[in-house]
Amino acid sequence: MQHQDWLFIGVFLVLAPVFPAAALLIPRLLAPRKPNRIKLQTYECGVETIGDSWVQFRVQYYNFALIFLIFDIETVFLYPWAVAMDQLPLFAVVEGILFILILVAGLMWAWRKGVLQWS
């Protein structure tokens, strides 16, 4: 297939973190290092930190992530369909649209049920 192109991506993958990492190494040489207890405290606008930094999140985040996951998978299925568009007969295009409509039904259901409402 496209060895050359993936080679480029691979080399890029290896080198891309090197640039920012190098930028992080320079301050190690130049910047002062005088840590003290107050300076290293968690920054909450000067107020003393109370308790753990662990915040318990609401289940809504999870619900929206679920809907996102479903639609993400759906779209991934649609990409090969879109690429082959010019070779597909009309009924194959309609199949793809049917595929979308079934999921639109799901979206509508979630909408009517009020799952999409952030409160």
């Binding site: 991506i9 930028a23 301050p27 910047a31 930094s53 649609l78 979308i100």
Partner: protein, 403 residues
């Protein structure tokens, strides 16, 4: 044909082969050089972006912006970098050191990775992947991870809150983005960005203005820029996920954000505005780089314009807008584009021709008109609901009894 970059590459290939290196090794060295050239070029542009951003925001706010160092303050970003480099590096107590240091690297590296698939000129492109469009989505997904890592590793409530908000927003707006990206893929019959640019004898913004608009809006949301910047709402969570980062680590997040905005501009330009296309680009491919960056800068300027003109949107409005407006609209656009494409090709209108683009534009205008009239009737109902008299003390309306 004036094409210095490929000429240099060929000359180097010959030189290295002359030293007796195997062809595989020559190829590897050339690829390595190509990557270094692309990445460092993009990073140099990134430094310049600091100046652009500061100058433009100043103009929007009726100020002068940096103007002391060098002509028009052009040396200002170098001063900024020196300042960031000699700042003390503070790792807050209780932070997860490895993850904390990895997060800013990931944030900038993922944005850099996006440039691997953007074609700079007809003869200058890094990787012509046949899955280019999905590659962009994939790299963007990894970028989200950097934010989660930063927020979690900082051991700070605000940082974690900001990170979770950002991620919730990013993944929500990724849905219309991925769906709207289907439209150029349908039009070009390919996921390769090189191929998509090649097909655009007429810019796709003509044939797919709605998809372009959806992509731009969701790109701004993915950037976490105003009006979608509740991730770093200063009044609520101070700075969001990078609250605990100082010095160069913060600088990497900042550089990553600026570069991400320009990258989105370059992607928009490649997908909808013809990428490197422009006059005389066939004769001198190097001009393509100029055209691409001009277009990217224009989109970058639009993004800044939006950022500095609009106030922040509330989170529920933001999610409503995404799930109840953008996503259904994007799905409708994809379905109708696919149908219209099939119908047009059946009637003998070849894809990419002027009549094809204009018919697509008509379809888009029709969808836009239907959407607007739906919105108008919804707004009418909403106005009536708001205008209806409601006794404030009744528990039915005040909402107290509900919860």
């Amino acid at each position: 044909m004036f094409d210095p970059i490929n000429a240099i590459a060929q000359w180097l290939a010959k030189l290295l082969a002359g030293w007796g290196l195997s062809s595989g090794l020559v190829n590897l060295i050339l690829t390595l050089l190509g990557v270094v050239v692309v990445a460092s070029f993009v990073l140099i542009v990134d430094i310049f972006l600091v100046w652009v951003e500061r100058k433009v925001v100043a103009r929007f706010q009726d100020r002068l912006g940096p103007n002391r160092l060098g002509p028009f303050g052009l040396i200002q970003p170098l001063a900024d970098i020196i300042k960031l480099l000699i700042k003390e590096d503070i790792t807050p107590v209780g932070a997860d050191k490895v993850v904390y240091n990895l997060a800013p690297i990931l944030a900038l590296a993922t944005v850099l990775m996006l440039w691997a698939v953007i074609p700079f000129a007809p003869t200058m492109l890094g990787a012509d992947l046949n899955v280019g469009v999905l590659y962009i989505v994939a790299v963007g997904a990894v970028g989200t991870l950097g934010i989660i890592m930063a927020g979690w590793a900082s051991n700070n409530k605000y940082a974690l809150l900001g990170a979770m908000r950002t991620v919730a927003l990013t993944i929500a707006y990724e849905v219309p983005m991925v769906i709207s990206l289907l439209v150029p893929v349908i039009l070009a019959r390919s996921m390769s960005i090189h191929q998509i640019v090649n097909m655009q004898t007429i810019w796709y913004i003509v044939a797919a203005p709605l998809a372009a608009a959806i992509f731009l809006i969701s790109a701004i949301a993915e950037l976490g820029r105003a009006p979608f910047d509740l991730a770093e709402a200063e009044s609520e969570i101070v700075a969001g996920f990078h609250i605990e980062y100082t010095g160069m680590k913060f600088g990497l997040f900042y550089a990553g954000e600026l570069l991400h905005a320009l990258t989105m501009g370059a992607l928009f330009a490649s997908l909808f505005m013809g990428g490197w296309r422009g006059p005389f680009v066939e004769q001198a491919p190097i001009l393509g780089v100029l055209y691409l960056f001009l277009k990217a800068m224009f989109i970058y300027w639009v993004i800044m314009w939006v950022k500095y003109s609009l106030p922040r949107v509330r989170i529920d409005h933001m999610l409503n807008f995404n799930w109840k407006f953008l996503t259904p609209l994007a799905l409708a656009v994809v379905m109708l584009t696919a149908l219209a494409d099939k119908a047009l090709v059946e009637f003998g209108v070849s894809a990419g021709s002027l009549s094809y683009s204009l018919s697509m534009l008509a379809v888009n205008l029709l969808i836009g008109w239907i959407t607007l009239s739906l919105l108008r009737s919804y707004a009418r109902i909403e106005r009536r609901r708001v205008a209806a008299p409601r006794p404030a003390a009744s528990p039915e309306y005040s909402g107290v009894a509900k919860s």
